[in-house]
């Protein structure tokens, strides 16, 4: 391969592929939770973003405590040890919310919009609790080796002009996300409980007739969704940094991913997350240098060749959402039309 082409590929890998994959993994975990809650409980849970923040907060606090005790994992971030605690905290919060708020409306068979509104209330309570406990500011909790591949070392090793850097957090995000998703799918496909959950999501009346216990299904759906939320939240915080408000802003990309994939479809949520994440990164990336390597001199662009500034990355998810609603409201995998 000529060096220009190689350089361009590395450049793309460094600024688009690596961050895109990590972001896609985080979105996918969040979108899976949303899609599960929707499939089983039949409402769009607006509190999901703040549930992520809550789980991440618990992880951050536990990490700090572990760091104070001097417990660590060497090159790996301490947050991995703290994550189970974060998951438990998120599950506790979700189950408490279900018991105190959602169960009442579920038993009365209220209109879905009532449940959405209640989730708005839950969202603000969670948001208040998180801000109350840890404050609204930026919190760093990553430690250990920050990079697996460093840009400088990569350049030295390969002799190329462009460097590739991969953060430990990004790599961990992808590994943990894959493990989690594999476990989730095995659970849904193989176990009796997972099957009853899918049955309930497909056809509530038939599932009830076959003896599926709706309360148990709801309980398990909340548990899984909360665990996914805590993992996604902690990984996002590890990759960027923990700030309560950002999780509210993740709500839109996550919903876009869930709806794009077909709501109620776990596979769809993952595919949707990949599409949303990569469109966001690709549209806000300044392509100038990439084109510089590939195009002949006369064609090289003057500007940054950036389609949208990064301030508008949420517009990308919105446009995707709108396009799905216009063209194929049921999503790629033919989920339920709301």
């Amino acid at each position: 391969m000529p060096p220009d082409l190689l350089n361009a590929t590395i450049l793309l890998g460094n600024y688009v592929v690596v961050p895109g994959v990590a972001y896609a993994a985080q979105l996918a975990l969040g979108a899976l939770g949303i899609t599960l809650v929707f499939g089983v409980l039949r409402f769009a849970n607006l509190a999901h973003g703040d549930l992520m923040a809550f789980g991440a907060m618990a992880t951050v606090l536990a990490t700090w405590q572990l760091q104070a005790w001097g417990v660590g994992l060497g090159p790996l971030p301490t947050a991995l040890l703290a994550l189970p605690l974060g998951i438990l905290a998120a599950i506790a919060a979700a189950l408490a919310a279900d018991r105190l708020v959602f169960r009442f409306y579920r038993r009365r068979r209220s209109a879905p919009v009532t449940l959405v509104m209640a989730s708005l209330g839950v969202m603000f309570v969670l948001n208040g609790v998180v801000r109350f406990i840890i404050g609204p500011g930026d919190r760093q909790f990553a430690d250990g080796e920050r990079f697996i591949v460093k840009a400088q070392e990569f350049k030295r090793a390969t002799g190329l002009a462009e460097g590739l850097s991969i953060k430990t957090a990004q790599c961990l995000t992808v590994i943990i996300a894959i493990v989690t998703v594999v476990l989730l799918f095995r659970f849904l496909q193989r176990t009796r409980t997972g099957k009853s959950m899918r049955a309930y999501s497909d056809n509530e009346d038939l599932a009830l007739l076959s003896g599926v216990n709706p309360e148990r299904v709801a309980l398990i759906a909340w548990t899984i969704a909360a665990a996914l939320a805590a993992i996604a939240g902690a990984l996002y915080g590890l990759d960027k940094s923990f700030k309560p408000f950002t999780y509210f802003q993740l709500l839109l990309p996550m919903f876009a991913a869930a709806i794009l994939g077909g709501i109620g479809q776990p596979v769809g949520a993952i595919v949707g997350a990949v599409i949303v994440a990569f469109s966001e990164v690709a549209v806000t990336y300044a392509w100038k240098k990439f084109l510089y390597y590939l195009l002949p001199e006369a064609w090289r662009p003057d500007g940054l060749a950036q389609l949208l500034s990064t301030d508008y990355k949420f517009a990308v998810s919105f446009v995707i959402l709108v396009l799905v609603l216009l063209i194929r409201p049921s999503g790629i995998f033919r989920g339920r039309v709301l």
Binding site: F104, A118, L120, V122, F124, V129, L252, G303, L321
Partner: protein, 434 residues
């Protein structure tokens, strides 16, 4: 009123003014939710558009900026329109295939890039014009009261576009779409400095009411103060009389200005309230409620549900826009970073739910009540924290943290209020009659 006696009349009037605006917003959300069952959680975006109208209508135009970048902006706009038109034409006339999608995508991409080629230098030129003072295009230089109408129109226009896309699907998608558009509106207002000065804010907007300083110079106003306070002034003579009169004039001028605002807002609220009441009790209002209660049945007897929904969504959003413009007028400045979903979307929803959805009087009452709680939640939270932590030593870290966190009581309190009212009094303080 209790604030008037407890704290000060000036503060009470300030709270009252914001109560009036909140009541108008909650009336607007009540039109959308209470009449038609539309779950709009993008209130913030429409309010911000109203605020933008305040700037665009009342600020004087900046000719240097227009000269620097006006042409470039215009060309960029033309290119965008041309590309959009071409894409639409391709979508209409080509057969459905992979090539059609590709052609449309290429046209859109080329249009976007072409527009940016003109847009970027133009906006850079505009923002370079005296960036400390202007650096934006300015507005029309018209009286700011006109912006109330302009704000309504702007918000209605945005609502029309969103309504075309997201209405007709079920409520959850609509909610998410409105949430998204409001975030995008705020992002645009924060970042497009050539239009709004972004986070540099636009301050010193015109006022629809006189300035305190002018009032204090006006002999007729001073006479009015003297007459109003004649009894207390009688006892004083000479220099003491003069000083006391000046003091009272300064106090009263600030009160007077706030009263003028209150009068204007009250008038606007009264007009919208009267119109909404009339609408609610008209055949149109009955039809809306029929649609809200059972969309399928209403559709079956020949009502165009989606169209009616769009109509009521546009109306309600226009009222939110008016309220947003009023808020900017009252503040005298436009601060894009000040638009928080908690304050501008969620709070309004709590007002409607607490007041009693479907009932205009309830919405107004909810607006007053919840705004009051919102204002007082922080001092109350601080007081509570102080009371709770008074047993702890003064330098305790826990105490410092708790005191610092008192400000975050607000989302918690509001969330709990919403959940409690929904659960135990779902029809609100003043239930709507069926």
């Amino acid at each position: 009123m209790a604030v008037g006696f407890g704290q000060s009349w000036s503060l009470a009037l300030a709270v009252l003014n914001l109560c009036l605006i909140s009541a108008l917003m909650s009336l607007a959300v009540n039109i959308q939710w209470g009449y038609a069952g539309l779950f709009n959680i993008g209130v913030m975006g429409f309010a911000a558009l109203g605020g933008l109208a305040g700037v665009l209508v009342s600020r004087p135009p900046v000719p240097a900026a227009w000269a620097a970048g006006g042409v470039g902006l215009f060309i960029a706009l033309l290119i965008l329109i041309a590309a959009g038109g071409l894409a639409l034409a391709l979508a209409r006339h080509l057969r459905r295939s992979r090539w059609r999608m590709l052609a449309i995508a290429i046209v859109m991409l080329a249009g976007l890039l072409g527009a940016r080629a003109f847009f970027d230098p133009a906006t850079d030129a505009i923002e370079a014009v005296e960036p400390a003072k202007t650096g934006y295009l300015g507005g029309l230089g018209l009286p700011i009261v006109l912006s109330w109408f302009a704000g309504g129109l702007l918000a209605a226009g945005a609502a029309f576009v969103i309504g075309r896309i997201a209405l007709g699907l079920r409520s959850d998608y609509f909610a998410i779409a409105t949430l998204g558009i409001s975030e995008i509106v705020i992002a645009v207002l924060k970042n497009e400095d050539w239009l709004t000065r972004g986070v540099k804010n636009v301050t010193g907007l015109d006022r629809p009411v006189p300035y305190e300083v002018d009032l204090q110079q006006d002999p007729r106003f001073v006479d009015l103060v003297a007459v109003l306070h004649s009894r207390s002034l009688e006892a004083l003579t000479g220099a003491a009389h003069e000083a006391a009169l000046r003091e009272l004039t300064v106090q009263f001028s600030s009160l007077f200005v706030k009263l003028c605002y209150a009068g204007l807002f009250l008038a606007a609220l009264a007009v919208v309230f009267w119109l909404s009441e009339r609408a609610l009790h008209s055949p149109w209002g009955r039809m809306m409620r029929a649609i809200r209660d059972n969309e399928i049945a209403a559709g079956a007897i020949g009502k165009d549900v989606t169209r009616r929904h769009r109509q009521v969504f546009i109306l309600g959003s226009a009222v939110i826009g008016v309220a947003g413009a009023m808020l900017t007028t009252l503040d005298g400045q436009f601060t894009p970073a000040g638009y928080q979903p908690l304050r501008f979307t969620f709070l309004i929803w709590v007002m409607v739910v607490v007041g009693g959805s479907g009932n205009n009087l309830g919405a107004v009452l909810g607006g007053f009540l919840i705004w009051f709680v919102w204002i007082e939640a922080e001092p109350a939270g601080l007081w509570l924290m102080q009371a709770l932590t008074s047993g702890l030593p003064a330098d305790s870290a826990v105490r410092a943290h708790l005191l610092e966190s008192a400000a975050h009581m607000r989302p918690l309190v509001m969330g709990v209020i919403l959940l409690l009212v929904m659960r135990f009094r779902p029809r609100g303080l003043i239930p709507a009659d069926r």
